[in-house]
C-alpha cells in the first residue's frame, strides 16, 4: 500500500474533483495529517482557480435568434420522427387524446396525492428484490394503466406537455405496477423532480441489498414522503448537485 507515500499531483486533483473513488477516505486521511500534501493540494487548487479566472469572460452572445433556429430545426426533425417512428408515438397520441378533454385541475406535483397514490409493494423478500433481473426492474406501465392514472389525477392538456408517470415505490425496490403506486410528475420541473428521486432509489437499493437498510422500512419511507426520505438519507435540505442532472430512465414519448 501507498499509505505512507505522498499523493501524486494527479491524485490530489482527482480528490479535488470528487473522483478519488474507493481510495477517497484513505487519501483524505493522508492529506489531513501530511503537511506537504496539504500544502500541495492548496497550490494546485489555486493554480486551477488562476487558470479558470484568466479566461476571457466575454458576455454570452445573444440567444434569441440561435434558439429560434434550433427550435425550427427540432420541429423539422420531430416531423421526420413522427412519420417514421414507432407505435410509441401512436400510443402517446391515444393517451393524449383521452387526456385532452378531462377537467382542468392543478397538475400533480413532486409528491403524489396520498388518496390516489398511497404506494403499493409486491410481496417480495429482500433477496428476491436484489435478485431482480434488469428487465424486471424496468417496468413500463401499460397504456391502459397510464390513462387511468392521468384520468384519476384529472390532468387536462390544453397544450402539448410532458409528464412522467413515476412509481412511488420503484419496481427495483419491490414497488407494484398498480394505479395506487403511480402518479404523474411534471418532467424535470422543480428541484424535486424524478431524476433526483431516481438517484435516491438507486442508493436505497444498494443499501438494501448490502444489508444496511431494511426493505420494508425503505418502502414505507418512500410511500410516506420520498422528499423527506431524501433529506434524511443524504442529510441535505436540497438535492445534491450531482443528483440534479441525474439522468437514468429513458423518456417514453
Amino acid at each position: 500500500m501507498r499509505a505512507h507515500e505522498h499523493l501524486r499531483d494527479e491524485e490530489l486533483l482527482l480528490l479535488l474533483d470528487g473522483e478519488a473513488g474507493a481510495r477517497e477516505q484513505e487519501w483524505i486521511a493522508h492529506v489531513a495529517q501530511c503537511q506537504a500534501c496539504g500544502a500541495r493540494r492548496a497550490q494546485l487548487e489555486q493554480a486551477m482557480a488562476n487558470w479558470v479566472a484568466s479566461r476571457p469572460s466575454t458576455a454570452p452572445p445573444a440567444m434569441e435568434q440561435p434558439l429560434a433556429n434550433l427550435r425550427r430545426g427540432l420541429e423539422t426533425r420531430s416531423r421526420h420522427w413522427l412519420r417514421y417512428a414507432a407505435a410509441a408515438c401512436v400510443m402517446a397520441a391515444v393517451a393524449g387524446g383521452v387526456l385532452w378533454n378531462t377537467h382542468l385541475r392543478a397538475p400533480a406535483g413532486p409528491l403524489p396525492d396520498a388518496r390516489l397514490t398511497p404506494g403499493a409493494a409486491r410481496a417480495l423478500t429482500r433477496d428476491e428484490v436484489c435478485g431482480l433481473a434488469e428487465e424486471d426492474g424496468e417496468r413500463r406501465a401499460p397504456v391502459e394503466l397510464a390513462r387511468r392514472v392521468f384520468r384519476d389525477y384529472r390532468i387536462a392538456r390544453p397544450r402539448a406537455r410532458a409528464y412522467e408517470l413515476d412509481y412511488l415505490i420503484s419496481p427495483a425496490l419491490g414497488g407494484a405496477e398498480e394505479a395506487r403506486n403511480l402518479w404523474p410528475q411534471p418532467y424535470a420541473e422543480g428541484i424535486w423532480n424524478s431524476r433526483v428521486k431516481d438517484a435516491l432509489e438507486d442508493d436505497l437499493r444498494r443499501q438494501v441489498c448490502s444489508g444496511a437498510l431494511e426493505l420494508t422500512s425503505v418502502q414505507a419511507e418512500l410511500a410516506e414522503d420520498w422528499i423527506a426520505t431524501y433529506k434524511r438519507h443524504f442529510r441535505s435540505e436540497r438535492p445534491l448537485a450531482e443528483h440534479r442532472g441525474f439522468m437514468k430512465d429513458q423518456a417514453w414519448e
Partner: protein
C-alpha cells in the same frame, strides 16, 4: 451501474416528443455559451462556431430520440462539438482567436502587468500538446473531469494527469 433499474418514466406528448425537444432546448440554453467559447478557443470562427453549436444540439436530439445513453450529456455535447469543429478546421483552416484582454478596474500599470501575464499564459497554452490543451480549455468551461473524459474519450486518470502537467507549466508563468 445498470441503466434500467429504478422507476420508469413515461413522457406523454402528442406533438412528437415535446419532452425530448424541451430537454434539448434547455441544455442548449445552459451550454451554448461555454460551448461557443470552447469552439472559439479551438480556432473556429464565430459564425462557424454558431453553426457547430446548432449541429451539435440537433445531433443531441437524434441521440436522445434513439434512446442512447444519457448519463453524461454535458460531456457528450462537448465531444460532438469538438469533433465537428476539428472537421471544419481541417476544411477551412483556423483563425487565431483574439480575446479582449483588458479587464476593468485596474491602473494602467496593473493592466500592463496583467496583459503581459495573459500573453505568457496563452503562449504556454498554445505550446501544450493537443490533448493537454483540450483538457485545460474544457476545464476552464467548468466541465468536471468525468465530463472532460467523456468529451475527449480519455480515462479519469488520464484527464487528471494531463491537467497536472499543464498546471505545472502554467505555474512557472505565474511565478515569472
Amino acid at each position: 451501474m445498470s441503466s434500467v433499474l429504478g422507476s420508469i418514466r413515461i413522457g406523454i406528448g402528442v406533438n412528437g416528443a415535446p419532452c425530448v425537444r424541451e430537454e434539448v432546448t434547455a441544455l442548449f440554453v445552459e451550454l451554448r455559451a461555454p460551448l461557443l467559447r470552447y469552439l472559439r478557443s479551438l480556432g473556429l470562427r464565430e459564425d462557424d462556431s454558431e453553426d457547430v453549436a446548432q449541429e451539435t444540439f440537433l445531433s443531441l436530439y437524434e441521440h436522445l430520440r434513439q434512446g442512447k445513453p444519457r448519463d453524461c450529456l454535458r460531456g457528450w455535447v462537448f465531444r460532438v462539438g469538438h469533433n465537428l469543429a476539428l472537421k471544419r478546421l481541417m476544411r477551412k483552416g483556423c483563425e487565431t482567436a483574439e480575446f479582449d484582454l483588458v479587464d476593468g478596474g485596474m491602473t494602467p500599470e496593473e493592466q500592463a502587468d496583467w496583459k503581459a501575464r495573459q500573453v505568457r499564459m496563452q503562449n504556454v497554452v498554445a505550446a501544450l500538446p493537443e490533448r493537454d490543451r483540450y483538457c485545460l480549455l474544457l476545464r476552464a468551461e467548468g466541465l468536471r473531469y468525468r465530463e472532460i473524459g467523456e468529451a475527449l474519450e480519455m480515462s479519469l486518470g488520464a484527464v487528471a494527469a494531463s491537467l497536472a502537467r499543464s498546471l505545472n507549466k502554467l505555474s512557472v508563468v505565474e511565478r515569472g
